[in-house]
Symmetry: D2
Subunit: 336 residues, 4 copies
Amino acid sequence: MYELKVGVIGTGAIGRTHIQRLTNQVTGARVTAVSDINQEIAQKIASEYDAKYYEQGEDLIEDPDVEAVVICSWDPTHEKYVLAAIRAGKFVFCEKPLAETAEGCRHIVDAEIASGKHLVQVGFMRRFDMGYRSMKAQLSSGKFGAPLMAHCVHRNATANAQYETKVNVTGTAIHEIDIMRWLMDDDIVAAKIVQPRVSKYVAQGQKDPQIIVLQTASGAIIDVETFMHCQYGYDIQCEIVGEEGTLRLADPTQLSIRRGGKCSFDILQDWRYRFADAYHVEFQSWVDHTKKGIVDGPNAWDGYAAIAVSDACLKSRDTGKWEPVIMDTIPEFYQK
Amino acid sequence: MYELKVGVIGTGAIGRTHIQRLTNQVTGARVTAVSDINQEIAQKIASEYDAKYYEQGEDLIEDPDVEAVVICSWDPTHEKYVLAAIRAGKFVFCEKPLAETAEGCRHIVDAEIASGKHLVQVGFMRRFDMGYRSMKAQLSSGKFGAPLMAHCVHRNATANAQYETKVNVTGTAIHEIDIMRWLMDDDIVAAKIVQPRVSKYVAQGQKDPQIIVLQTASGAIIDVETFMHCQYGYDIQCEIVGEEGTLRLADPTQLSIRRGGKCSFDILQDWRYRFADAYHVEFQSWVDHTKKGIVDGPNAWDGYAAIAVSDACLKSRDTGKWEPVIMDTIPEFYQK
Amino acid sequence: MYELKVGVIGTGAIGRTHIQRLTNQVTGARVTAVSDINQEIAQKIASEYDAKYYEQGEDLIEDPDVEAVVICSWDPTHEKYVLAAIRAGKFVFCEKPLAETAEGCRHIVDAEIASGKHLVQVGFMRRFDMGYRSMKAQLSSGKFGAPLMAHCVHRNATANAQYETKVNVTGTAIHEIDIMRWLMDDDIVAAKIVQPRVSKYVAQGQKDPQIIVLQTASGAIIDVETFMHCQYGYDIQCEIVGEEGTLRLADPTQLSIRRGGKCSFDILQDWRYRFADAYHVEFQSWVDHTKKGIVDGPNAWDGYAAIAVSDACLKSRDTGKWEPVIMDTIPEFYQK
Amino acid sequence: MYELKVGVIGTGAIGRTHIQRLTNQVTGARVTAVSDINQEIAQKIASEYDAKYYEQGEDLIEDPDVEAVVICSWDPTHEKYVLAAIRAGKFVFCEKPLAETAEGCRHIVDAEIASGKHLVQVGFMRRFDMGYRSMKAQLSSGKFGAPLMAHCVHRNATANAQYETKVNVTGTAIHEIDIMRWLMDDDIVAAKIVQPRVSKYVAQGQKDPQIIVLQTASGAIIDVETFMHCQYGYDIQCEIVGEEGTLRLADPTQLSIRRGGKCSFDILQDWRYRFADAYHVEFQSWVDHTKKGIVDGPNAWDGYAAIAVSDACLKSRDTGKWEPVIMDTIPEFYQK
């Protein structure tokens, strides 16, 4: 089978996972080049996977042996690498965020439109999770009427030392922002944060949990509990309430245990396990569609919209009010 | 066994249920008198249960053959009958609302304090539901840390023709208002309504569903989805999120069915079935404690607090903002 | 309300529970007399409940102040007391077993037929459990086709010191024997015990768990796992497999807990809690029907049939083979 | 990456699925040759996948461009092809059954031992299912004590026109036979079939459902309900009962739906979906281990044991008795 030659920028934890995935689990792709500012690790990985090493991501992008690019470097570098890939006319998969600001995303959107070709996919892997996909299929059947509300929960057992208040939006609820836009096929037009009592497990000065409330263009209300220090595990919940019924993600579990006076199942402790299948499907789909010259997943406009909503959330933290999502009209280029 | 002689004011649907319950299910009580403005039905019931009939509730209250009073008449009459019972020095169980306004409730509170004796119980039956009671026991154990958030859902299949927008607060969320005060042992200090897109099943000009957000004195945030036209059934959900874990009401179900490609359980269609046991426990407890001269359930202050919170919710509907709960300091008489 | 005057023979643990139940939870009944060989306890209870004390059960039965009799004395005495009650023409509720042998049960059946009146009810409380009742209602709807199989589980955390191998049949599976005859509306015609490896928690020489396999007249096969030392709790499971779908009892639970890496619910530790509601409904129904002069619950023939099946099980333990249930044809008196 | 060159014998439904899987989902393998008696289909597939076509499976096996062989041809041909692969010294994956008779399997076992090298893997894919693997991990932890019983259910919505009574054993329970040997790490020493009433959906003269009871060397009892016409879906259940607790497979589901008075999840209609992940893991593991020269999955001895137990089941159908599993002692070559 023809193997797509992929260059990966960023060989940190996620980068290495993606390199491993593209090599051993996804079919039809081969990692031909890697790049990272941490030269030592990147070179080791390059030799391990029989790939070239580039100090500069831009050089990797220009290598004729790289047909498509995966970006999982430090967030502030996403924008420049995606722009470089567009300039080189190469398909590019960029981990979220597409850029750190809405303006940055807008630059990418403009560059892609100018290039005349869809090239950019953003790493919102939940769109490839079977649960959410079943949910979308059910919603599309019309049997549930219009979606009126959604209740989401996004909990982590514990956050790392770098935890900051804004992470509940920028690193966490951003997944719900994207998946809700996609599930409801609706734009988010306003956002508000409601701040509950802070858990004793949160570092002084930081705020967790947070409840993020979103309003869509059609008037649906989405509430998202984000709780980065819930202690008990990694737990993603989602219920969509339609006019004629509700849809809820089932808990991921293989085994029901009766022992010591309890009937229980184990809760996953880590997002890696929760969406392992989704990552796999996402990359396989990206490789397959890239070979066909198509972008089929979340695109640059989705990346831009997510940041625009995220900005409104962050502003609401400061103002304590509903904040409108400030966002351009969708260009014809991205309309379905 | 000695039988408490109970007079029931109001022989509508709920009144008849309570008369039947006191007679046939609760032990140690007997309905000795009934009263209702609908003379025909009330007399029929009086004769059926071998009880006296009174045209005026006040006369029933003064009958020496009535030791304790149950009020389930038209809402606007609650206040005067409760006051009359306090004047008569008789124990009184009043269906919610205790009075239609916070001022009305305050009159009752003042009268009870002046009487020097606890006499009033309000019909918040959920405090007697085994699920909520288990939840409270677990919370009290300390194993879940402080409660930070609660997510509640209160759905009815369909509302009757009299449905009005305010019912989501006054007839519906009022149950969550009381049970949350009790579960969290905390006062609600502010309220806000978020209005989602309205279901197509709702009459022109009315608003349903509604999301009611409450803040407690300790900073916990409670969100309550109220949806009176959800089509599929009567559905009460509640999850409390503590610093170290969460507690969620289980769905009430007896049977799991596999048939026609689905594994399912039936959802109750009516609140009567959902809280049938709670009503039973509530009245048995009221009879038992009344005989001992004690008020053990939700008291006049709880009735007052519920209306005060309800008022803040209704005001938030008009202003679109967080509204503080306007409420007096708890008198020593009601402190635990 | 008119109160049925009940005499209770046997004031051990179960007897006291029934006396308390008849007095405080069931309406329309009063315990007027008690009897027990343990004179001290019985007299204490008599004085506590303001009832007469009789040394001899037969004397209690003949007391004109006793309208109906509850028998929860030592198993070997059941037969003689039931026969005495029939002779006295009084309604009698007898805890299982109706008699210790099929012959003993047959004497009761014959005496009842000779008396010309239905008087005897046997304490198979599961027929009053809402789960089993829902199951029967669903089966009767015809939507599940003919029942072909049933899988039952009956587990106790631990057995007491008197535990003997035969208890898995006589004290345990006997409940499944009765409930299955009732649910399937079918007689059990053959039985076989399959002996698994014995748990290390079982006393030397005794056998637990045991799998009891039953065949009905229509050919349905019922397997019952009985496990008296399962360590983790009291657990009753039942699935009926019909031609077009299956019905399974839901686990009894009020609360779902997420904590410490697990999502769990508590398993009951004791049969008293599992069937508390069923006991209540059973006795209320017995009192109500006795007042109307009707036996509506499991009758003497059901008590006889259960022992006949139990005998076949015990015989199969010895022979290692399928053993036919040796049982007379149902007399017209008991046909529906 | 180096790609293992695989020849596939049998291009029926399962064969085509495996070819597709090896090509598009499994990494590190390539289908280089196919063979089938249906020349037309096989040639079409050969050209589609750019593989050679062989009329004779033996010729495919001898092709130097075939490093490893997958056998999914007609059952009666399995034995000869596996023997040919062993003669050729090539790794071979054979769909169950390894051979149609225990004698046939024994020939393979003897040939493999004579070859001095482990080459044969049998297609018992459940060993690669995450649910069963979690179960085995838990059992191995020792926290559940010794396994005493297992309750298994294996239901299909409907069987095809060729359905025969023996299929419940040879095509159905054979999966439970293997997975139970593996989970319990124990041999099955005796078997018995209990025949329930036959469903009205079963063709005249055939028998379904069937309950297959198995006894292991350590005395554990396994009951397997096989029901090929259960109407409602494909349903695999398994509970293992240990001395200190139980383990049960969770239902595979992504979505919980509330609509029309019911809370439900969809039951899979087809085994292909139920074990899709297991098939993937199985083949990836086979390819990976074959490259390392290791057999890591169910081996020839497991294939032999499954047929020996299956034979005892079939014999029990005729005799109506417990039948011992007639099986040789495990050769040193297969001991762990």
